[in-house]
Symmetry: C2
Subunit: 500 residues, 2 copies
C-alpha cells in the first residue's frame, strides 16, 4: 500500500512536476529564440518539427491526470501558506484550461506557427502578402477552433483575450477604447495644429556598431543584469526568458533610424527587468511568472515612455549620445532632441508610433481581430481591411503591405487577442508611474542623474517579486489604491503634450 | 480488439517514435550549443536542470516498453529492405543498451556534466585545478558506475570505449598504439634531428576580425553549406548538429596564433560536411547518424591534415591569406609557410600538436583513462600523472595545469574512452585518402585549384550517405578493400616528413 503523503510531500511533488514542465517549456523558448536569432534558413523545417514535439510533450506532461489529482487534493488541503495555496489554485485553473487542448491540436498549432512565421519573414522581405496568405489563413482557422474549444460567453474574441489577460472582455475594451479614442482624438487635433518638430537629423546615417554599443550602455544603466541575460539581433525585437537567471532581449538596428534601436532597447529592457526580478525560488510555479501580459507591458512602457522619453532621462544621456555621434548631433541642442523624440505624427508603423497615436494602431488591430474571430474577415481580406482602418483612424495611406499588414510578427505566432494588452500596459504604466513619483519624491532628480536604482527597487518591491500572486486588477489596486483608470494616462499625456 | 498492423505500419510507427526522440535529443543539443556559445554565466544553474530534464525525457522515451515490443517484432519481420532492417537491428541494440541506464542515473550524469563543465571553464580561466577536482571526481565515480552497469569482458575501459567505437577494446588499441609508438618514435627522432622550421611569423599579431573572415571563407570553399549551418565562437571548438539541415561549428580565435583558428575551422568543417551529408530522410534513425566517432574523426582529419596541411591546398589559399595579412606574410614565401605549418615538435597542447606527436597526446590520455577506470587513479592524482606521462612520452615539462590536465573539455563532459577515436580517425583518414587519391586521378591538381567538389562528392558517395549502415570496419573494407591498417598512415607520414 502506498504511504499516505503529507501535504508538504504533496506540495513538493507538485513543485517537482511543475519544474520539469517549466524545463521543457524553457527548452522550447531556447529553440524559439535560436529560430529568431541564429537559425540558418535551411534549418527551419526540422526546427518546426522539434518545436512541435516539445510543445506536445509539455502539453502532455501538464495534462497528466496524476497532476490533476494532486492539484485537486492540494486545493482542499490545510497547511499551505498563502503563496503556496495561490500557486495551487492558479495551476489548477491552468490545468483545467490546458485539458481543453488535445495533444493533436497543440502539435498542429506549433507546426502552423513555424510555417506562418517563416512565411511572414519571407513575405515581409519580398513585400508580398500572397506568400503569407495561405499559412495565415491556416492560423486563423486554428484560432477560431481554439476560441470554440476554450469557450466564451459573449464574443468569440473574449476566449482568446482571456488567454492573455484574465478577466478582460470585448465589452470592457470597447468602453476603454471608445473613451481613449474621444479624448486622445481631441488632444491629437490640438497637437497636430502646431508646427511639427524637426526630426530630419534622426534619419541621417548612424553607424550600426556605435548604435549597438550605445544600446547596450542604456540597458546596463537601467540595471539589466548581463550576468543573467544578453542582447542579440533579430528581425523583430522581443524579450524571452529561460529562467529569472537567463533573460534574453533582442533588438534591430537601422542605420537611418537610430530611434528605433534606442527605444526598442529601453522597451525590451523594461520587460527584461521584470523577468530578472521574478522570484527564482518560484521557478516553474505561477508566483514565479509575470502577472499578465498587460502588467508585463506596463513595465516596458514605463521605462520606454515615462522614463525613456522624459526630459530628465535625456538630460543625463544626451551628452553621451552626442559624444557617440558628434557629427550627427553636435548642432542639435537637447531641447530640439527632446521635441523630436516626442514628435506626434500619425504614421504607418505601430512600433515606431508616438505615445498618442500608438493606441490607434492597437485599436485597428483590435477591430480587425474581432472580425477575424467572428468569421467576417479572412486572410485574403486583411490587406484591404488594414488599409481602410488606417485611413479611418489615422488618416494615413498605406503604400505597401510591408508598411501595412505585414509589419507585425504577432499573427504569424498565432497571437490573436494580444494587441489590446499593449494599450492596457500603457495605461497601467502611467498609473504606476504616477504612484512611484508620489512615493519617491526625488524620482525626477534621480532620473536626471542617471540613477535608476531607486525606481528599479520600487518596481521590484511593488510589482516584480509578486509574480502571478495578484491579478492585474488586484495588483493595480494594491500598488496604487485604485483599479485601472485611463485618466492617469490622459493626465500624463496632457501634461506632456498639451503644452500651450 | 486492436487491428493487426502490417509490417509497413509498424515500421512507420517505429520511425515516428524515433523522430520524436531525435527531436528531444536535438533540442538538448541546441541547449548545449547555447551553453557553450551564448549562455550568460549566471544562467548555468537552471540550464543544468533543463538539460537534465531533457536527457531524462529522451531516455524515458527510448526506454518505453512499447518501443521494445515493436523492435522485437520488426527484427523478425519479413518485408523490410536492407536499410530498414538494419535500422531496426541497430535501434534494438541501442535499446537494450539504453535499458541498462536508469532514469535516475541519466539525470545524475547530466547534472554532473553541467557542473563539471562549468567548473572546468572556471578552473581553466583561473589556472587552478582544485576548482575542478571535486566535480571531476564525481564524474569519475559515475563513469566507473557506468562501466559496471554496461558490463565488459576484459578491461572496464572496454565498456566505455564501445560506447564510442563499437567493437573496439583495450587489447586492440594496445597493439595499435604499441606499433605506432615504435614506428612514429623512430620517424620522430629523424625529423627532430633536423633544424626546425622558423615559425616566429605565426605568433605575431593577426587581427581577429580578419581571421574570422578568412576562416569563414575556408569553410565556404570546402563546401560547408551556410544555408544549413553556421559558425560561432566558443571556448573549445566543436561541431554539433540539430538535423542534417542545421549543422553548427564553433571556433576560437587567438590574436597571436592564427594557425589555431585555421585548422580548427578546417577540422570542424570536415566533421560538419559529414553531418550535412547524412541522409535527411533517415532523420532520427541509425542510417541517418554518423557511422562512429572514429569515422567522424576520419572526416575531420582528412580535411585538416591530408588536405588542409598539403602543399596543394596552400598553393591555392596562400595568396588569399597573404592578401588578408600583407604586413605579416609578405616576406614569407609559400615554401617557408608550408614548412612552418608542418613543423614537428613535441608540445603541450593536443589540439595544436602536429600530425606525428598528436598520437602521443592521445596515448597519454588513453593510459590515464585506463587507470582511472581501473580505480588506480582519482581526480586529485591527475595533474601529477599527466605531467609524468608528458615527460615520458613527449619529453616535455608541463609548466601549469592550464597547459596540462585542464586543456581538454572531454572529461568534464564525461567523455572517457573518447580520445582513442582521434587516433583511429587519423588512421582511417590516411587509408580513405589513399583510396580517394587512386580513384580521383586529378585530386592533387583539383586541390591546388581550390576545387574540392570532386573530393566532397567522393566522400558523400562512399562514406557520408551510408550513415550507420556499416560499422567502421565494414565501411573501411567496403571503401578501401581492406580493414583498418596503420601502414597507410605510416606511409603517408613517411612520405610527408621523412624528406631526406
Amino acid at each position: 500500500m502506498q504511504k499516505l503523503q503529507t501535504v508538504r510531500e504533496q506540495y513538493d511533488r507538485y513543485c517537482a512536476k511543475m519544474r520539469k514542465i517549466a524545463d521543457v517549456k524553457n527548452a522550447t523558448a531556447v529553440l524559439q529564440w535560436d529560430q529568431e536569432t541564429y537559425l540558418p534558413a535551411g534549418g527551419a523545417a526540422f526546427r518546426a518539427g522539434q518545436l512541435a514535439t516539445l510543445s506536445t510533450l509539455a502539453h502532455e506532461m501538464f495534462a497528466d491526470e496524476s497532476l490533476g489529482t494532486l492539484l485537486h487534493g492540494l486545493a482542499e488541503a490545510e497547511g499551505l501558506d498563502a503563496r503556496e495555496h495561490n500557486n495551487v489554485l492558479l495551476t489548477l485553473e491552468d490545468y483545467e484550461k490546458n485539458k481543453k487542448y488535445s495533444a493533436a491540436f497543440v502539435a498542429k498549432l506549433s507546426q502552423a506557427t513555424s510555417a506562418a512565421y517563416h512565411a511572414w519573414i519571407q513575405a515581409r522581405k519580398e513585400n508580398d502578402f500572397h506568400l503569407y496568405e495561405a499559412s495565415l489563413q491556416q492560423m486563423i482557422l486554428l484560432k477560431r477552433e481554439e476560441a470554440a474549444l476554450l469557450g466564451y460567453k459573449g464574443h468569440p474574441y473574449d476566449a482568446l483575450l482571456n488567454d492573455y489577460e484574465k478577466g478582460a472582455n470585448t465589452a470592457m475594451l470597447d468602453t476603454i477604447f471608445d473613451n481613449l479614442r474621444g479624448e486622445l482624438g481631441t488632444l491629437l487635433q490640438k497637437v497636430l495644429s502646431r508646427p511639427p518638430a524637426d526630426e530630419a537629423f534622426m534619419h541621417i546615417s548612424y553607424d550600426k556598431g556605435r548604435q549597438w554599443a550605445f544600446g547596450l550602455s542604456l540597458l546596463e544603466k537601467m540595471g539589466f543584469d548581463f550576468n543573467h541575460g544578453r542582447q542579440d539581433i533579430s528581425e523583430h525585437p522581443f524579450t524571452t526568458s529561460f529562467s529569472p537567471q537567463d533573460v534574453r532581449v533582442t533588438t534591430r538596428i537601422n542605420e537611418h533610424d537610430f530611434a528605433n534601436m534606442i527605444w526598442s532597447c529601453i522597451h525590451e529592457g523594461g520587460h527584461a527587468l521584470y523577468e530578472q526580478g521574478l522570484d527564482a525560488t518560484q521557478y516553474g510555479l505561477p508566483c514565479g511568472e509575470a502577472a499578465s501580459l498587460s502588467i508585463h507591458e506596463s513595465q516596458s512602457r514605463l521605462w520606454e515612455n515615462c522614463v525613456g522619453r522624459s526630459m530628465a532621462y535625456w538630460q543625463y544621456h544626451y551628452p553621451d549620445l552626442q559624444a557617440a555621434f558628434p557629427q550627427q548631433l553636435k548642432d542639435v541642442p537637447l531641447a530640439a532632441f527632446y521635441k523630436a523624440i516626442n514628435r506626434v505624427k500619425p504614421s504607418l508603423i505601430r512600433t515606431e508610433a508616438d505615445e498618442l497615436t500608438y493606441h490607434f494602431h492597437v485599436m485597428i488591430r483590435y477591430e480587425i481581430e474581432k472580425q477575424v474571430l467572428e468569421g467576417t474577415l479572412n486572410a485574403p481580406d486583411l490587406p484591404v481591411a488594414w488599409n481602410e482602418w488606417y485611413a479611418r483612424y489615422l488618416d494615413v495611406k498605406v503604400p505597401d503591405d510591408r508598411q501595412g499588414v505585414l509589419q507585425d510578427i504577432h499573427w504569424s505566432h498565432g497571437s490573436f487577442g494580444y494587441f489590446p494588452t499593449y494599450s492596457l500596459g500603457s495605461l497601467y504604466a502611467a498609473q504606476f508611474f504616477a504612484k512611484a513619483t508620489t512615493d519617491i519624491i526625488t524620482l525626477e532628480d534621480d532620473v536626471a542623474r542617471g540613477n535608476y536604482a531607486v525606481l528599479l527597487q520600487w518596481l521590484r518591491e511593488n510589482i516584480h517579486r509578486h509574480g502571478r500572486f495578484y491579478t492585474s486588477e488586484e495588483l493595480c489596486r494594491k500598488v496604487t489604491g485604485a483599479g485601472l483608470d485611463a485618466a492617469y494616462f490622459l493626465r500624463y499625456a496632457e501634461k506632456k503634450f498639451d503644452i500651450d
